[in-house]
């Protein structure tokens, strides 16, 4: 019976694991695991006996994948990490995304430079997915501030949605064999053409299983006042699709800024979606007063959730995988900051408590009930 809440925290200095009873009281922290290098992605694989995976991005000795089979009491390297074919000419620079595949022990992995890999044996061996990795656009994508990364993998049966920064949203409808750019309505703020076929700086994409066809996207916003070629692009940062990602429309109206990195859906309500707006220039909390913003009507309107969070002088960033929700009866929101705090928002974010105050800068937070 699932009775523990397990939170994985990927940081600049390794991975931490915290767990608590379902009351979410008394979280205990373990770690750091790994050689003290950045962990950009973690995954709690709840199929069968739970496994925790963590990327380990060693700038000296290359990329590794760590695996724990004892709920984060110990980690060891898998037998191999993704790698480009020898004659490809590209070299793995980072592991940005880990997701469960459809088959037992199947894993998907998004990397930098933007490419996709698949493992059929729990991460011990990997093969490149050519449909996106060798896409005709692939050599034309440009790196964003975080590098040229494939950071988001959303699976929906035979549909696969990918988020690439800066490549945009790519959609497969044949299980990942072939992909096409699917960015109708997705604005770009750093090119003369405000709506190019591809090249958008998508930050995160999420879907909800109870709303077929519905997707939400946090895109690179913050271009409302642009006066250069192509003109201003207000509200391009937060988007919604109702046709499986074939087209997108803005839902950013009402937010203090349309710039941000994470976007999260409520596990029990597809109309409830959360973002964490940031100042576009500094990528920090507006006015030094952090808040999560929630819509309960699919982006039609937004309300501010800041109870328990600092009211001033807080200028952190929350990165694209830094916010998540658990699946308990009354779900809680979790977000980790670049200044090393892990916040827990009880009752869907109504009241925030600080779980850990002084971790290394946090890159990602995942949670599961096991």
């Amino acid at each position: 019976m699932a009775d523990r809440v397990v939170v994985t925290i990927g940081t600049r200095k390794g991975v931490f694991v915290a767990d608590a009873p379902k009351t979410r009281r008394g979280f205990k922290l373990r770690g750091p695991f790994g050689p003290g290098v950045p962990v950009y992605s973690t995954l709690v694989d709840t199929r069968g006996k739970p496994r925790i995976y963590a990327s380990s991005c060693n700038p000296f000795f290359g990329m590794k994948l760590l695996c724990s089979t004892d709920l984060g009491r110990s980690f060891k390297e898998t037998k191999s990490a993704p790698a480009f074919p020898k004659d490809d000419g590209r070299a793995l620079a980072n592991i940005w995304s880990l997701e469960m595949g459809g088959a037992k022990n199947e894993l998907w992995c998004g990397v930098e430079p933007a490419s996709l890999f698949r493992s059929g044996d729990g991460g011990d061996s990997w093969e490149m997915v050519p449909g996106i990795s060798n896409h005709e656009h692939a050599r034309k994508w440009q790196p964003g501030a975080g590098g040229l990364c494939l950071h988001t993998i959303v699976r929906d049966g035979n549909r696969v949605h990918l988020g690439i920064s800066t490549g945009g949203h790519y959609l497969s409808e044949d299980g990942g064999q072939t992909f096409r750019a699917s960015n109708k309505g997705v604005g770009a703020g750093f090119a003369p053409d405000p709506y190019p076929e591809f090249g958008q700086c998508v930050h995160k994409i999420v879907r909800h299983p109870a709303a077929p066809g519905r997707l939400y996207m946090q895109n690179h916003g913050g271009w409302a006042d642009w006066t250069g070629p192509g003109g201003p692009r207000p509200n391009i940062g937060v988007l919604r699709s109702d046709d499986y990602g074939r087209s997108w429309r803005s839902i950013a109206s009402g937010l203090p800024t349309d710039f941000g990195f994470p976007i999260v859906t409520h596990p029990k309500d597809p109309d409830t979606v959360y973002v964490l707006p940031l100042e576009p220039a500094t990528r920090t909390c507006p006015g030094g007063a952090p808040a999560v913003w929630r819509s309960e009507n699919g982006g039609g309107s937004w309300s501010r959730l800041g109870r328990g969070l600092p009211k001033k002088e807080a200028y952190f960033t929350v990165l694209r995988d830094g916010m998540t929700m658990d699946g308990l009866a009354t779900p809680a929101l979790y977000f980790g900051t670049t200044t090393g705090q892990l916040w827990l928002g009880r009752d869907g974010g109504e009241k925030f408590d600080l779980l850990f105050d002084s971790l290394p800068p946090i890159h990602n937070v995942k949670v599961a009930v096991v």
Binding site: P59, P85, A91
Partner: protein, 95 residues
């Protein structure tokens, strides 16, 4: 043409995980590139920590022949003599 000289490779602690725990290896190689090729053949896991999948030396890794960084010598073409010591060290970078 004579036999290739035998040189010693010194491994720092993080790399010993990939050399079966060995802190030093003796190999026959005429140049640094030869030494890396030998590692690719006989110590594949260790090699992958030193070179990426294109065969390039990892960016934040320094290679020394005795006390000299190979970037101040002839890079991968730096010739090796019997008894030379080859050391792979993380660059003093990062944080």
């Amino acid at each position: 043409m004579g036999a290739e000289p035998t040189v010693t490779i010194h491994l720092t602690a993080p790399l010993r995980v990939y050399s079966g725990g060995a802190s030093r290896l003796e190999i026959a190689a005429s140049t640094v590139k030869d030494a890396l090729d030998a590692l690719a053949q006989g110590q594949a896991a260790l090699y992958r920590n030193i070179c990426d999948e294109t065969g390039a030396l990892r960016r934040h890794l320094n290679v020394y022949v005795n006390a000299d960084n190979i970037r101040d010598l002839r890079g991968l073409e730096t010739t090796l003599a019997a008894g030379d010591v080859l050391t792979f060290l993380p660059a003093v970078s990062g944080g």
